[in-house]
Structures are given as structure tokens and as C-alpha cells.
């Protein structure tokens, strides 16, 4: 389980996050939704120990990420693409990631197969398409067979077949009891994958709960998104 409690983050006088709290539960895909700049990535960065909060806590299985001894065996994550160096091969990238957490080497071939990149294992990452980069990022996230997956905009750059594939993959993960937290700025994409939604706007959580509950009262998913986040057309349809 992922627990975010009272998270605040300030950069100087600018408030990026203000008292953000929500839980992502095992066995469910939680969609973390909001417009660009709403605070999604900031929250995920704090959750993964990349940034420090000004106040509040972000715990995975009751522990802060930096205290995990081999974090990739507990949480698989992808922030903004694969992050792999352009001149390395996919296999080379996953190889060092696995080694850093004592993950057996055979997992590298297995996850490459799982994300459909087995044929591109020896291709340099600089030659990958956006979608292949996303698949490589997912492969790295799956490497340590983690209980939780934290994915920032995972469907970015995927074609419809790729979106269907990721939906099946994430569903398989939650069916096995895993926790999935994924962010997106596209309501239609996330509503098709998620069980629960957490909507953030201007650094604050504005709605949270099962998808049907959060979108109730709106004619379309798009209306719900704008209605909740205060974007163009807000309040017109409710």
C-alpha cells in the first residue's frame, strides 16, 4: 500500500503541493490525474525519494522509500520515460539496474520478453521510438518483481495496441495483489485503466475515490476532468 499523508512542498515562496493526502490500495489501479503542473510529478518524486517534502510523509508498505534496502524489489517505478543513457543498449541498461539491487541476471531477458523488446535487446536506446522507451522503462520497473508499481505518464507515446497491452499488464499485477499508482493528464486514458482516481489541481487533491464515484454527475469524462480541475468549461455540465 502507498500512503501519502499531509504532503507539502514549497520552492521558495511558491507552493507546489499543499496538504496532499491519499492512499493507493493493493489489488487496485489508482490513477493520479491532473493537468500539467498540478503537482503529480512532484508527489511521485517525493514518494520515490528524489525530492524531500517540506512537510508530511510518503510511505510504501509503511516505510519511506530511501529506507528500503533493495527498493526495486519493493517498488518498480518509471518517471518520464526510461531514463536510460542513449548510447547504452536496452540489455546493458537493465543489466546495471538489476545488479544494483542484487536482482538475478535472468530477470533481464525475462522482462525484455514481457514488454516485447526481446528483439531490440542489443539496440542502443538512442534509436528507440518513444513507445519503445516507455516499454524499456516498464521493463526496469518490473525487474525486481515488486509489489508496487509507480508510473508517471506510462501510456505517453504508446499506440492503442500498446495502451491495451499496458492495461492487461497492470490488471495482471493488481489481480496478483499488487498496488499500482499511475499518473496521467488524460482522463480518458486513465479512466480506462484505473479502479480509483485521485484528482489533483494546483497542488491540492480535489477529488478521490472509485472512478464511477469521481466522475458521477458529469456527461463525459472530459467534462469531469475540467469540472474537477477548474479548467475551461468548468461547472457547465454538472
Amino acid at each position: 500500500m502507498i500512503q501519502i499523508d499531509g504532503l507539502s512542498k514549497r520552492h521558495g515562496s511558491r507552493t507546489v503541493l499543499s496538504d496532499v493526502s491519499f492512499h493507493a490500495l493493493p489489488g487496485r489501479v489508482t490513477g493520479f490525474l491532473g493537468p500539467n503542473g498540478a503537482g503529480k510529478s512532484s508527489t511521485l518524486r517525493i514518494l520515490l525519494g528524489l525530492d524531500r517534502p517540506t512537510a508530511g510523509s510518503a510511505l510504501i508498505g509503511g516505510r519511506p522509500y530511501p529506507s528500503l534496502r533493495t527498493p526495486l524489489r519493493t517498488v518498480g517505478s518509471m518517471l518520464d520515460g526510461s531514463g536510460a543513457h542513449r548510447s547504452r543498449t536496452a540489455r546493458g541498461h537493465l543489466g546495471w539496474v538489476a545488479r544494483s539491487n542484487g536482482i538475478p541476471k535472468h530477470r533481464v531477458g525475462y522482462v525484455l520478453e514481457q514488454v516485447g523488446l526481446a528483439g531490440a535487446a542489443r539496440t542502443r536506446v538512442g534509436r528507440f521510438s518513444l513507445g519503445m522507451g516507455q516499454r524499456l522503462g516498464l521493463a526496469a520497473a518490473l525487474l525486481g518483481e515488486p509489489e508496487a508499481l509507480v508510473l508517471d505518464e506510462p501510456v505517453n507515446g504508446l499506440d492503442p495496441e500498446g495502451i491495451r497491452w499496458i492495461r492487461t499488464l497492470l490488471r495482471g499485477h493488481t489481480d496478483a495483489g499488487g498496488t499500482v499508482l499511475l499518473s496521467s493528464h488524460l482522463m480518458s486514458e486513465v479512466a480506462a485503466i484505473a479502479d480509483d482516481l485521485v484528482v489533483i489541481s494546483g497542488g491540492q487533491v480535489v477529488a478521490a475515490g472509485p472512478v464511477a464515484h469521481v466522475t458521477a454527475g458529469y456527461a463525459t469524462l472530459e467534462d469531469a476532468f475540467f469540472g474537477l480541475t477548474g479548467g475551461p468549461g468548468a461547472g457547465e455540465e454538472r
Binding site: 534496502r69 527498493p71 542513449r86 543498449t89 546495471w96 544494483s100 542484487g102
Partner: protein, 242 residues
């Protein structure tokens, strides 16, 4: 358990260097440059009672550039693109990450320096022999060779420390090459205090000519610089958000 963890980090950092074409090409290119330079310098020095070692020592100022790059790449390549995020999510304890990275870099530098020194000496010896100008090497020569390995490693570590501090390739390259190629020779012409500069102090380990510093004290001064620069960079790296 912590030993296993740091072992994994060192192994991962070595893997990163092995699979980074720029790093392997730099290492191999440096060794090859050393061989070619030693052969060329041996041919040029054949009439001045040169030994394979004196020839190798003459090649050091040129091959050191490869060690500068080899010291900088392990840190700088994290920041070309977004690999640093993957690295930090795999190893969130930044002190352990840096310790592993510095150890892996030092191992790579020592190995490359030893191979460069040995291969250059062999190339110089073969060239001198083929020209009929070969002179037997003495125990002193072996010490000089060990000093060369030590100096090239130190230059690589100074560069690595600079990269830990400034993170990016170009600023690190400019600062270290600016020191070694411009500032250091310039100051040496102006003041005797230039001996305290990291590269001048380090040079005492293979070419002890200073009136005040010996090979041992030169080594200590260079190490003090490395610790100072790396500790400043490490403090910043550990405290700040990436």
C-alpha cells in the same frame, strides 16, 4: 549486509562503465595512444641514452587527457539525459551510491593506468631494441613506472572529484583541463607556490624534482585536494534535490 549492498553498487557502477561506449573507447583509446606515443618518442630519443621508462615518462603529459575524461564520464554521463533519476531510485542512499561510484571509478582508473604504463613501456622497449638502442631497465625504472600508474590514477581521481562537484561533462572538462594545461604551467612560471596545485603535487610521484615536496608528500597533497573537492561535491549531492 551493508557490505553486500556496497558490493552490488560497485558492481553496478562497473557495469555502467563497461556498457558505456564513451568510457570503453576512452580507456582503449588512451592505452593505444600511449603505445603509439611511446613508440614514436622512442624513435625520436634513440640517440639520447633513453630507456623504455624515460620514454614512457615523456608520454605521460599527453595520455593524461584520457584519464581526465575517464574520471569525469562516470559522474557526467548520469546527467546527459535523465539517468540520474534511475540511479537514485535504484540506490536511494546517496552516500552509498557515491562511495560505490568513486570505488568503481578508482578501480577502472588504476587498471587502465597500469595497462597504459606497461603497454607503453613495452612499446618503447621494442622500438628501442629494433633500433639497436635498448638499455637495460633498473629497479629505479620500475619505481618510476609504478609512479606513472599512481600519477595517472590521481589525475583521473582529481577529474572525478571535479565531476562530482560540477556534475556536467563540459564544465568538468574545462575546469580540469584548464588547470592542467593552462593555469598550472602559467602559475609555475610565476610563483613557486604552484607546487601545491593538485596536478603539480601529484606529478612528484613519478617525476620528483621539487625542492620541498617528495613523492610521498606530493601524493598526500594530491589526495588532500581530491578529498576536499569530492567532499564538497558529495555534501551538495547528498543534501540537495537532484
Amino acid at each position: 549486509m551493508n557490505l553486500v549492498r556496497i558490493g552490488n553498487v560497485i558492481a553496478a557502477e562497473l557495469d555502467k562503465l563497461r556498457t558505456l561506449p564513451a568510457a570503453t573507447l576512452t580507456a582503449l583509446g588512451t592505452i593505444l595512444t600511449g603505445i603509439l606515443l611511446a613508440a614514436a618518442l622512442a624513435a625520436a630519443d634513440q640517440h639520447v641514452e633513453a630507456t623504455a621508462t624515460t620514454v614512457t615518462l615523456r608520454s605521460v603529459p599527453f595520455v593524461q587527457v584520457g584519464f581526465v575524461l575517464l574520471g569525469i564520464l562516470p559522474m557526467a554521463h548520469e546527467y546527459t539525459g535523465r539517468q540520474i533519476r534511475v540511479t537514485l531510485s535504484a540506490i536511494p542512499r546517496r552516500s552509498i551510491l557515491l562511495a560505490g561510484k568513486i570505488t568503481a571509478t578508482a578501480l577502472t582508473l588504476v587498471l587502465t593506468a597500469a595497462v597504459t604504463g606497461a603497454a607503453s613501456t613495452a612499446a618503447a622497449a621494442l622500438t628501442l631494441r629494433s633500433l639497436g638502442a635498448f638499455r637495460e631497465m633498473t629497479a629505479d625504472d620500475l619505481w618510476h613506472l609504478a609512479g606513472t600508474t599512481c600519477y595517472l590514477t590521481l589525475i583521473g581521481l582529481i577529474s572525478h572529484a571535479a565531476a562530482v562537484l560540477v556534475r556536467h561533462l563540459i564544465p568538468a572538462l574545462v575546469s580540469v583541463l584548464g588547470l592542467i594545461l593552462i593555469l598550472s604551467p602559467l602559475l609555475a612560471g610565476l610563483t613557486e607556490h604552484a607546487r601545491w596545485l593538485p596536478d603539480r603535487a601529484a606529478a612528484q610521484v613519478y617525476d620528483p624534482h621539487d625542492t620541498m615536496l617528495t613523492a610521498g608528500t606530493g601524493l598526500l597533497v594530491a589526495l588532500a585536494w581530491i578529498v576536499l573537492i569530492a567532499a564538497t561535491g558529495a555534501t551538495r549531492f547528498i543534501r540537495r534535490d537532484p
